[in-house]
Symmetry: C2
Subunit: 450 residues, 2 copies
């Protein structure tokens, strides 16, 4: 078989690369090879354990590809021969390609204490059968321990607690979500999670598991304390899935991801890599960054898909910004760019602006929610480098306003004089729009009164 574009991996990165290529170049034969029969919405996974009825309600339908004439092959790539431009599938079928894209994603990290197999020990794999088993285990468990207090751990805790289970979340750092937010925002998330009945154990590391008959009974902390557990879910992050790329001779970056340039081209001509399997550089620090997000993967995919045959426009990744949002109960948290702590640690001179208001106006509107903003600006250039928000659902899009401002190098004065749209039922008031008042607060510190 021959194809023009062959994409390995059927997640968001693979799907969007295919769509972007199809949208940019007409008449191409595009083929996606993936292992999974059905593709999960990755960010929706925590929600299949609470909000959504089942894993089946969290699928990306194949017709987003097939309706555009893109072929899907459910199989695994066994081998890539980059000189003859052929891949061989496990089924032994061979496919000749013109352009090849690695979108092989990531795999959950397995910490040393979790290498032994237990029937009631799970991680978060993007596999519908595995997650269906996990959902059943959750339903049959009373006491559940989640190890790892990042986004997935926090979202899993919140969702599982909704089902009336006794959930404990264990995190080695001083706060949950500390890799993404400054302390005070982590504390807001923790307070909300506690209100929802979740027990939080920060600054706590796991020594190992105690159990019998292939089942864990207790999680043992290095402090010696033992936590009762009917079920343990490990959410300590992911690492790039590059086994095949390595075997094919692609250069792997020192972060462990496939090395790519700004156009998402790998070290081998006609081969691209996108998403979790590709190495990323931070927008500001210029260091390699382990951020793995579907929104970043799809951004890279749009760039790669359009750049496959020609650089029709300068479409490049300008560095990974990292725009995240998450929800704990009614509280939505968002972050874009650098936190204050990270910015200071990296040696940036920054000033911080803060504000607090309500996300509807007047505050008597029924679904009004307090909203807090923290913006981080470069002290001498005034350019915005980071934003953190906490509030109601509007935070999900408000953090994208900050994200655009960061990507376009907006200054504090520009943000202070920004024109925004407001409406009583859907936004904060025009008199105290959180991003603007936080910018005004920062300006006081930038232009010290003489």
């Amino acid at each position: 078989m021959k194809t023009d574009v062959l994409i390995i991996g059927g997640g968001p990165a693979g799907i969007v690369t295919a769509l972007s290529a199809e949208n940019t170049y007409k008449g191409l034969k595009i083929t996606v090879v993936r292992r999974e029969k059905q593709v999960l919405v990755p960010c929706g996974i925590p929600y299949i354990f609470g909000t959504l009825p089942s894993p089946e309600s969290d699928l990306i339908p194949d017709k987003v590809l097939t309706s555009k004439g893109i072929e899907i092959i459910v199989d695994e790539v066994a081998d890539v021969d980059t000189s003859s431009k052929r891949v061989t599938l496990k089924s032994e079928e061979a496919i000749e390609y013109d352009k090849l894209v690695f979108a092989t994603g990531s795999l959950p990290k397995v910490p040393p204490f979790a290498r032994e197999k237990f029937e009631n020990l799970f991680s978060i794999k993007k596999n519908i059968d595995y997650l269906t088993r996990l959902k059943k285990e959750i339903e049959n468990s009373e006491e559940i321990v989640i190890i790892g207090g990042g986004f997935i751990g926090v979202e899993m805790s919140d969702e599982i607690a909704k089902r009336g289970k006794k959930v404990t979340i264990v995190e080695a750092m001083d706060h949950l979500l500390l890799q993404a937010f400054d302390d005070e925002f982590c504390v807001m998330a923790e307070d909300e999670l506690r209100k929802r009945g979740v027990t939080i154990r920060t600054s706590a590391t796991v020594k190992g598991f105690l159990g019998s008959n292939n089942r864990i009974d207790y999680v043992e902390l290095t402090s010696g304390e033992k936590l009762r557990a009917d079920l343990v879910i490990v959410c300590v992050g992911s690492y790039p899935n590059v086994e095949l790329a390595k075997k094919a001779g692609l250069v792997i970056g020192y972060s462990g991801g496939i090395w790519v340039d700004e156009y998402l081209r790998t070290s081998v001509p006609d081969i691209f890599a996108v998403g979790d399997c590709a190495e990323k550089k931070d927008f500001f620090t210029r260091e390699v960054t382990p951020v793995m997000l579907a929104s970043i993967a799809t951004c890279e995919a749009r760039i790669a898909g359009a750049n496959l045959y020609r650089l029709k426009a300068v479409r490049e990744t300008k560095g990974t910004l990292g725009v995240f949002s998450t929800a704990v109960g009614d509280l939505v948290l968002g972050v874009a760019g650098l936190t204050e702590a990270r910015a200071r640690k990296e040696g940036f001179d920054v000033v911080v602006g803060e504000s607090k208001t309500v996300d509807r106006h007047p505050g008597a509107i029924p679904d009004a929610h307090e909203v807090r903003a923290k913006l981080i600006f470069s002290k001498y250039s005034g350019v915005i480098m980071g934003a953190q928000l906490a509030g109601g659902k509007g935070v999900g899009e408000m953090i994208n306003i900050a994200g655009v401002a960061i990507q376009k190098g907006m200054t504090a004065v520009e943000m202070d004089t920004l024109q925004i749209g407001t409406h009583p039922l859907v936004t904060p008031p025009p008199t105290a729009y959180p991003l603007i008042t936080a910018a005004a607060n920062a300006i006081l510190k930038i232009f010290k009164e003489e």
Copy 2:
């Protein structure tokens, strides 16, 4: 009495000018003179007739000013002597000022057919006693005719219909909201309003009223048709309140607003004007524009307040963009910049990008709502000039993302490769984020396939 800064007008423009001056310059004596005992949130006014319990729940508390040491005088300015820098109040008190700011707002337009007085004929005045009377009239009426299908007319219709009243909205143009949106978005609003039980009469003009004993019984259209009415509310827009400014000798622009430069300075030294009473120029067309919005007024106020004594930074109005949002039932509509119709009429070469998706992911998330986007780009520079959105509540902030993009001159390619944050419970999916897919759709037309 003497004050450093005297602001005439206590609405959002006056309040934010005072706050901006206080935030920028320390130790100033700032005084706000206003007619109203209590200040209404202007954009909240339609909601006091449905969603909110009473006009009193739509107030801006005085403490936003008094807590910063800003004085409020409830009185009216009778006279301004710009050479001796004194104003005289109706109470005959005189105030000497160093800097004076006109924030005198706007007054509802009264069309020729509505000049006669009737007990059951109302407009929308920012006056709590007047609106309390109107609320009572609404409660006592069965059939209500609203004249004018702009934002306020539409929002009033929707809110009053919630109270189980029979509402008819009469609009002279072919569609409701046509000054703000392209046809297809107007139609979405109309469909939703009709579902809510409102009768819509577009392309219909009012000839006059028929009634007796000082009460209207029928609204007569120029077609001869008569509409039964227990109550008539006229919402045909506002005009700048510049009587005092005229008397003081300030130059009035040809739009009828107070002439100001980009720093919001009027023709007289030490006098500024902000908000609805100040003339505005459109961001793109450079023509004077009659847009009156609290969000624009407060933007101007932030600029003027900071520029009163020194131009500490280049804080200027770059032209009025107009970022609006409104809600009809569950449908939220947003617009920023030029519509396609307006852009073409003004002679801009444009291309349009469109998209349709869901504002949660997966679509099975309980409060998911369809969201549609239309973006207008300059054909040859690729710069974004306008955006229209229709969807759920997230549109309120999503339109601000487009607003920032317009203000920062973002191109279609930049938007296509934008990094955004997404989350299942609060945003559309990363694989099909509406602004990005609409940009990709436009790019197809900009870079025609060779």
